[in-house]
């Protein structure tokens, strides 16, 4: 559980984050200057949350309350991961270290940390989050700078990279767990309604995402409670 082991385990995540945050930088460069977009990645380290946040910023109607609530629901899964990770860390992982390293709880870093056979030490976790953090912020910076100079056909294509990543997270779970399939399809159906139905399409992006996800998850949790530890 050394620092070096953490860095090694974090390398593939770092490379993946670089590619994905590159497209976040491009998306952001249509609205903000590159230092500001990079600052978002440095302080948030979350793909879906930042992506939603950017949408809310770009909509003139997006209020701060909407930003807080959208961020809360989209990133709520990190709380669940933080709870389960707190069962897995070594006794040397004190409150102060948890406050400092808590930022590193992302889907992928959490997944790697939980796959460890021995308790997770603070120094290992620091090593593990190092390259993903650098990959995420540098990818955003380069994407934001290049987004202004890259030809249009390239930025158009890179705009779907983030969605590709979302699909790669959702589809494998749908394949092995049928109730997740149903939850996902309910959410998609609601999302289509909120985008195209006459009155519902007035609802802004942030709240629409919250309503789709919360309603679909409530229905799925009610119909198909998950008993085993997933």
């Amino acid at each position: 559980m050394s620092f070096k082991k953490g860095v090694d385990d974090g390398l593939p995540i770092g490379i993946g984050y670089f590619a994905v945050s590159f497209s976040f930088g491009i998306a952001g460069s249509k609205l903000l200057t590159w230092p500001l977009i990079t600052l978002i990645s440095m302080t948030n380290l979350t793909s879906a949350g930042q992506f939603a946040g950017l949408h809310i910023m770009s909509e003139m109607t997006g209020t701060l309350l909407e930003m807080a609530i959208a961020t809360f629901f989209i990133n709520l899964r990190y709380s669940l991961m933080a709870i389960s990770l707190s069962q897995k860390v070594s006794p040397s992982f004190g409150t102060f270290k948890r406050l400092c390293l808590g930022t590193g709880i992302t889907d992928e870093i959490y997944a790697v940390a939980m796959s460890s056979k021995v308790p997770v030490t603070p120094i290992y976790f620091l090593g593990l989050m190092l390259l993903p953090y650098l990959g995420w912020t540098s990818g955003t910076l380069i994407g934001a700078v290049c987004g202004e100079v890259l030809p249009h056909f390239l930025t158009d294509a890179l705009g779907v990279a983030l969605y590709g990543m979302f699909i790669a997270i959702v589809v494998p779970q749908m394949k092995i767990h049928k109730p997740t399939c149903i939850a996902v399809f309910i959410s998609i159906a609601l999302s289509l309604l909120f985008n195209y139905a006459p009155v519902l399409s007035e609802v802004s992006f942030g709240f629409a995402i919250i309503l789709c996800a919360v309603l679909a998850s409530l229905v799925a949790a009610f119909l198909f409670p998950i008993k085993e530890n997933a």
């Binding site: 879906a48 949350g49 807080a68 709520l76 158009d156 969605y163 990543m165 399809f185 679909a216």
Partner: protein, 105 residues
């Protein structure tokens, strides 16, 4: 957008995200026992990402068939068990291919 407005949004985003991670990490030392809320939280990531992807991906490019191709190929490659990076790359390549074909024809 003014700098002042941006920093207000940034602060709210970063602060909420940080609290969601740090607070449970330091406060909760035991697992959630309630099956319903545990299940609800387990479904949340997937329903959120699904609602963001559809119809978002259709608006991500300027030519609808390119988006549809990206969605189909990304789903196919995910089903075959390929990872995050490759699936994202395939989606990008699909858009390029369809856009290129569109220009050529």
């Amino acid at each position: 957008m003014s700098l002042e407005v941006f920093f207000k949004y940034l602060f709210v985003m970063a602060f909420v995200t940080y609290l969601l991670r740090a607070l449970p990490f330091i406060l909760l030392k035991r697992q959630i026992e309630n099956v319903f809320w545990k299940s609800f939280l387990a479904y949340i990531p997937y329903t959120v990402l699904a609602a963001m992807t559809i119809p978002g991906i259709f608006k991500a490019t300027e030519f609808l068939p390119a988006s549809v191709a990206a969605l189909c190929l990304a789903t196919l490659f995910s089903l075959k068990g390929h990872g995050l990076v490759l699936v994202a790359l395939v989606a990008c390549l699909a858009v390029m291919a369809v856009n290129g074909l569109h220009l050529w024809i």
